[in-house]
Symmetry: C2
Subunit: 230 residues, 2 copies
DNA sequence: TCGATTATTATGTACACACATATAAATACT
DNA sequence: AGTATTTATATGTGTGTACATAATAATCGA
């Protein structure tokens, strides 16, 4: 006897959505009915549909039931790797250069993004990540020392702040903004590219609960691509 | 009596990871032990830890148990909205202009990305999405008509291919590449920006099972940001 | 007729149990 | 010693039940 898995239920639901057996906007049978129809427990159907809903392929509401959205908003995910591992995964030797480190009050926009008073002294890092001795990524970071007291004892010329933080300050949430900017002169100099070159840029702010940890701008050398999956 | 929820178990696990009560690299108690310790069923612990693992915060292997990864690879997600809704969500009026539509054999790189023979005739679309009458995004798309026969009857000057496909060709998988490019002259002309301007660019290929559906390059006007969440 | 209150109902989740499955560890075998 | 086989174990998943919760639909009252 073959048992129905939640994956098979999910596949069947997906098939019905794609074939328009469940057309956009329509309500689909409720869990109990599907369970009896497909010959499995409601929990199995629940798991299958819950996952589809979190992927944006179904809308579920208590009492209202489950329906196929008219305008599904699909979600894509990408990894946030340690830059060293990102480079090494490409088969390139990695090096790292700490360009600058101070403790100072952050510029207003950084303070605002971290929701901290503007006069809080923070650690400022400017560092260059290199792949095969070519500039790969310029890291411009502000760290809230109150969130990570140990960092004052870390030697950030040996290990990148990026890596230190990933290993020592597990964060619970963060937001990321992706954009393309024209390389400012100083950045262009560090990345060894012409000023104005298009740079793929990641602005990231991370939190441990309600405590802001760090806020970083990563400017990647021209030509960089970031991969994501749907 | 207060019942333990999987969320509370997850929060407690997260706390232990952050506090290094479960240090990086260490193995954590197995599900059954945690269940008895926290006073809940193993299924509840399983759900909590499974979700943490899919977020990259734990590594789980059968028999080997669960451990805190030394180098956690966190995952961020972003929405893939219909461009019209993206514009309207910013409170701007949306317009759309079909610039070009033909049926032809695709260039080799497109054929390769879709894993189709190079001589398959495909639909090629060039369209401009505008926000408040300013260029917002240039869409350069190739569509496999074999995957979506109905599209030949769609009037793509009225509804964008982007929107038509989302509503009519639910895909099961896709990959996305994000990058920054210097605006080529033609693109710059359409987006009304100087040639060479940094453009945030999304290259997306989508599939319905093993059948390739479409492959699109979206070039956003300078200054565009894409938001993601961790 | 309208607004507040009360059912009704579909999803969300917890639990106890059972069995499946991957795989590390131990054992037997050559 | 090295390899193949077995065993033990932690996670993965399905089932049936029970109750919680949100939100719609029905009912009631002014």
């Amino acid at each position: 006897m073959t048992t129905i898995t939640w994956q098979s239920v999910q596949a069947e639901a997906l098939r019905r959505i794609r074939s328009r057996e469940w057309p956009p906007g329509a309500q689909i049978p409720h869990e109990a009915d599907l369970a009896t129809e497909l010959g499995c427990a409601r929990a199995t159907v629940n798991r299958a549909l819950r996952d589809l809903a979190s992927a944006g392929l179904l809308d579920r509401k208590r009492k209202a039931g489950t329906r196929v959205p008219l305008n599904p908003v699909r979600k894509a995910t990408f990894d946030i790797p340690i830059i060293r591992l990102d480079v090494q995964a490409r088969g390139l030797p990695y090096t790292y250069r700490l360009l600058h480190q101070t403790t100072a009050a952050p510029p207003p926009d950084v303070a605002q993004r971290l929701m901290l008073p503007g006069d809080t002294p923070m650690i400022h890092i400017l560092a260059l990540h290199l792949a095969a001795n070519a500039p790969f990524c310029l890291e411009d970071r502000w760290i809230n020392p109150a969130a990570t007291p140990h960092i004052t004892t870390a030697d950030l010329s040996e290990i990148s702040a990026n890596e230190w933080l990933v290993q020592n300050a597990a964060f619970t949430a963060g937001d990321v903004a992706l954009s393309a900017i024209a390389a400012p002169p100083a950045t262009a100099h560090h990345l060894n590219c012409p000023p104005g070159a298009p740079l793929f840029t990641v602005d990231r702010t991370t939190w441990a609960g309600a405590t802001p940890i760090t806020c970083v701008r990563l400017c990647y050398a021209p030509g960089h691509q970031m991969q994501a999956k749907i």
